[in-house]
């Protein structure tokens, strides 16, 4: 079969290209919602973990009840991080779909939540690393001027953290897009599954699978390009 015939068979006949476009749409939907959820969870968990680490000693002396409460919240965050980072994302997705959200038929929503919860753990650790990497002198200088912990975070620490972690966060986003390719496990027709369905119909693997790979590559290359631009911008403002 010539390449042209293969192309027509795989993409044109029966409008099979729609498997790819609809799949891509699902892939992007899951990625965007998962990313939003992941960033929100990540920020909350990172703030809890770093605030606990930095204030536990003085809090222990000043406010016993507040300290105990904080200790429990921090422990929950630690357990979350351990479980999420210690188990494969496919298993997490299956558990989310077949156990936790067994009542729901909306696979896209369940996958968005599952990937969001997964991503949140990694985002949290990226942010925590960023906060911890800021010189302790920055906290001291801000405190010495009279800023409290929250003000110090908002005016002094977070703007610096964003600069240092933005490239890593974009990398996490790139990883997330590729990770969503396992969504087919729970019956979602994402980009990967769409290509695979075509392969199943036409019994010709070459074209659909390479098309899928190419589409991922284009998206990731675009994001990498954006990442490069962002990094250059950030470096410029330092000078």
């Amino acid at each position: 079969m010539s390449l042209k015939e293969q192309f027509i068979l795989n993409f044109v006949e029966d409008d099979r290209w729609k498997y790819l476009t609809n799949g891509l749409l699902n892939t992007l939907t899951i990625t965007v919602f998962a990313l939003l959820l992941g960033v929100v969870i990540g920020i909350v968990v990172a703030m809890i973990r770093t605030t606990y680490d930095k204030t536990k000693d003085s809090l222990k002396k000043r406010n016993k009840i507040g300290y105990s409460f904080f200790f429990i919240v921090n422990s929950i965050c630690k357990i979350y991080l351990t479980v999420i980072r210690g188990t494969p994302v496919v298993v997490q997705l299956l558990i989310a779909y077949f156990i936790i959200f067994a009542f729901s038929n909306d696979g896209i929503m369940v996958a968005s939540i599952a990937f969001g919860i997964n991503s949140g753990a990694y985002v949290a650790e990226i942010l925590r690393g960023g906060i911890m990497s800021i010189d302790v002198g920055q906290f001291e200088a801000s405190n010495s001027l009279g800023f409290n912990y929250v003000q110090t975070m908002i005016y002094v620490i977070i703007p610096q953290v964003i600069k240092t972690v933005l490239p890593t966060l974009l990398n996490e986003m790139i990883a997330l897009i590729k990770e969503t390719s396992i969504a087919g496990y729970v019956g979602i027709v994402d980009l990967t599954k769409g290509g695979d369905i075509i392969r199943g119909r036409t019994f010709s693997a070459f074209m659909p699978l390479l098309a899928v790979a190419a589409i991922y590559l284009v998206i990731v290359s675009f994001l990498t390009f954006v990442l490069g631009r962002v990094e250059r911008r950030l470096r410029k403002s330092e000078r």
């Binding site: 001027l145 610096q160 000078r239």
Partner: protein, 246 residues
Amino acid sequence: MSDNVIIKTENLCKFYGEKIHALENVNVEIKKGEVVVVIGPSGSGKSTFLRSLNMIEPATSGKVIFDGVDIMSAKVNINLHRQRMGMVFQHFNLFPHMTILRNMTIAPMKLLKQSKAEAETKAMELLKRVGLDDRAGAYPSQLSGGQKQRVAIVRALCMNPDVMLFDEPTSALDPEMVGEVLSVMKQLAEEGMTMVVVTHEMGFAKEVSNRILFMDEGKILEDGSPEQIFNNPQNERTKDFLRKVL
């Protein structure tokens, strides 16, 4: 306690674990307008003492009474008191993501609710005094060490503090930049600012201070005027230390 005592410590102690005593029962009174220089060998607790005065590194026990209030007490909002105690650090600790002007105006604007114009006028005035008004729009990374430290001093002054604390302000500087920072500090002392300075600059101690504390092993071993300490030290360890550094 007389009215013009601004900072008083009572039995100030700091322990790291069980054994290491960074501060041992430090009792000091610092009066308004005094320029107190704290000297001593490294590891003697002088930085720990200074940093306990505004609770950047809180002591383990004892009292720090600032303007009549025990700021070690759990009921006190330490941030309000810190607004009145400026601090200058060995490593400057300017905020690298802000311009020099923003470094100086952010605290007065956010904490003292000054308007932008008001804060900037005051900041520019101070920058002019230290000869850096042309660098207001620069970022800290564009300045030399001596310039950074001068900015750090005026940043603290923007809050109109009652006391200025200096934690080895010239130790991280190249030798040729030490002078420019010390002259700013000297000017500040002449204007009547209450200052507590931890330093190894004996020349500054002799010339500018009106009181010297000699610390070793977490204790204040000698407390007197510069003439007394430099010309007629009483304690053996003070004599030994001064022999080595002078």
